[in-house]
């Protein structure tokens, strides 16, 4: 590789300029703004106005609690489902493979707003197709939007539908990089398919699955569109309000940029911390 400082930076310049303007400076600035009282004009520096409010704000704890509940339930369910999808799609016995791939991967390209609209309509309480189907087997309808637990379940169902295929694509790519002779040897030794999965496939897939978990954690920490559009601004009564939604409300409804920045930094810190914890646990379990 030739040493060429000038030429290399000429190629990098436009990209680095965008990075500095729209990421590097905002990351620093976000931190600075979180120490500004932005409810007075002009803004005034204050060490505690936002961070002090954050640690005492019941709305923050509610959003944190909801986000963590979604994280703890949705991410493992989705990753397990995605792994099953990927393993089954990878089976040489499968017929009509393109059809199944389409079914699971199609949600990946569907926009958040379009799918939010469909889910809202499908789950509507009186005339939603889901409640009609539930009713047709003789069960009582579920108040998906009036009951906090049901609303939470709806958000989890929606996010899982949208993202399971995405993770399955990544896991499938990992599966296809496992050499086939590993399985041939196992089959010759009369190791069953299920045992092969737990003793060969899963250990080899571990780094990829951890990667998926980290991506999902980052996504969940800033989850916004689903509770915003499907459960109507985090309803009922804040039961599905996430940290992402709280950030939006504080920043862009109340225009309290200082407090919103403190929330934003909390989201980032939690995302990084939980990701590192995952990687650490992954390494320990080896």
């Amino acid at each position: 590789m030739p040493l060429r400082n000038r030429i290399a930076y000429a190629f990098l310049a436009p990209y680095l300029l965008i990075f500095a303007t729209f990421w590097l400076w905002p990351i620093i600035n976000s931190f600075l703004i979180s120490f500004q009282n932005t409810r007075v004009n002009p803004w005034r520096f204050s060490l505690t106005v936002n961070w002090g409010r954050l640690v005492a704000d019941p709305a923050f704890y509610n959003a944190l609690y909801n986000t963590l509940i979604i994280l703890v339930i949705q991410v493992p369910v989705m990753i397990a489902l995605a792994t099953v999808m990927a393993v089954l799609l990878n089976s040489p016995l499968l017929k009509a493979r393109p059809l199944y791939r389409f079914a699971f991967f199609a949600p990946v390209v569907v926009g958040e707003v379009a799918y939010a609209a469909v889910f809202r309509l499908m789950f509507s309480i009186d005339f939603g197709i889901i409640n009609k189907l539930i009713g047709s087997v003789g069960l009582p309808p579920v108040s998906w939007f009036d009951n906090g637990t049901a609303a939470m379940a709806l958000v989890i169902i929606a996010v899982t539908w949208r993202w399971a295929g995405y993770n399955a694509i990544i896991i499938l790519a990992g599966l296809q990089s496992i050499p086939g002779d590993v399985y041939e040897a196992a089959t010759l030794d009369r190791v069953g398919k299920v045992q092969q999965f737990f003793h060969i496939t899963l250990p080899l897939l571990k780094p990829i699955i951890l990667f998926c978990v980290v991506l999902s954690v980052i996504g969940t920490m800033q989850l916004f569109t689903e509770p915003f559009l499907i459960t109507n601004r985090g309803g009922p009564g804040g039961a599905t309000e996430t940290l992402g939604l709280l950030l939006y409300r504080q920043g862009f409804t109340s225009l309290n940029f200082g407090y919103a920045s403190a929330i934003a930094y909390t989201i980032a810190a939690l995302a990084v911390a939980i990701s590192l914890l995952n990687l650490f646990i992954g390494r320990e379990a080896k």
Partner: protein, 278 residues
């Protein structure tokens, strides 16, 4: 031998018995989106279970167009996605080329920055980005605001870098010996060879722009400058609104992408899977 083929049969049967219901559940929302978009509102909100399309799509679309100027919003979304994709592929392939093919002071720092930002949530920059673009640059409700701030993309650079570093060095050295300028080597030798990677990246970038919601929602909220997802989003939750119309909009947002997806599945998948390969 006979029993072996029988167990194989059973395994095949079990596999399909497990996957088929899952696939039907997964396709159901998309199918219902299509069905709802063809039904009049009184049909959507009737007590009957309807699983088959009707004939009201055009009427629904007219209602949608009356509720919000959806054609204008579609035009904005398409234009933004095309320009964004072209600019972003240019930026990321230039940067990827520099990182793959030159040694320079600060190279490992640039790589560390790019890797570091992959795990940073957009939430952490959204407030200052908004303040800067809307208040300092006074660019709210403009094309520039939709296109330029999302241009930073770390996965794209890594994707392009990987493609360039897999090319044989002799190719470029031979050109250098003949005195060909570096930017010509990039433009005329490297880029044509990277075409498949650029195609996969373009698809992913186009999709990201087409579906982008939060940033356009914040920065371009004036009716004439909304993107299609933002325009559609404003209708969700209104009490007097045509739900058939909303579904027609959802179909218009989804169908073209699904159509492309069917034919270019491999590019989509390699673009997404690239996120997993470091």
């Amino acid at each position: 031998m006979k029993s072996k083929s029988r167990t194989l049969m059973m395994q095949r049967l079990a596999l399909h018995a497990a996957l088929t219901p899952l696939a039907i559940i997964w396709l159901f929302p998309l199918w219902m989106m299509f069905v709802f978009s063809t039904m009049p509102d009184y049909g959507i909100f009737s007590p009957d279970i309807v699983l088959w399309p009707s004939t009201n799509f055009v009427e629904n679309f007219k209602n949608l167009q009356a509720d919000t100027n959806f054609l204008r919003a579609m035009f904005i979304s398409i234009t933004v996605a095309v320009i964004y994709t072209v600019l972003s592929v240019m930026l990321t392939s230039m940067a990827g080329w520099a990182l793959a093919r030159y040694r320079f002071a600060g190279r490992s720092m640039v790589i560390a920055i790019i890797l570091g930002t992959i795990t940073l949530p957009f939430a952490v920059v959204v407030i200052p980005q908004f303040i800067m673009v809307a208040r300092e640059f006074k660019l709210a409700n403009t094309w520039v605001a939709l296109i330029v701030p999302p241009l930073f993309n770390s996965l794209g650079v890594l994707f392009m870098r990987q493609s360039f570093s897999m090319m044989p060095t002799e190719l470029f050295d031979a050109a250098r010996v003949e005195g060909v300028k570096e930017w010509r080597i990039f433009l005329h030798i490297a880029l044509p060879l990277a075409r498949p990677t650029m195609a996969a990246l373009s698809i992913i970038l186009f999709l990201a722009s087409w579906n982008n919601y939060l940033w356009p929602l914040l920065i371009n909220s004036r009716p004439g400058m909304m993107t299609a997802p933002v325009a559609l989003g404003t209708l969700i939750g209104l009490t007097k609104v045509s739900w058939g119309g909303i579904m027609a909009g959802a179909v218009l947002l989804t169908a073209p992408i699904l159509f492309v997806f069917i034919f270019l599945q491999r590019h989509f998948i390699s673009g997404i899977a690239a996120g997993a390969i470091k």
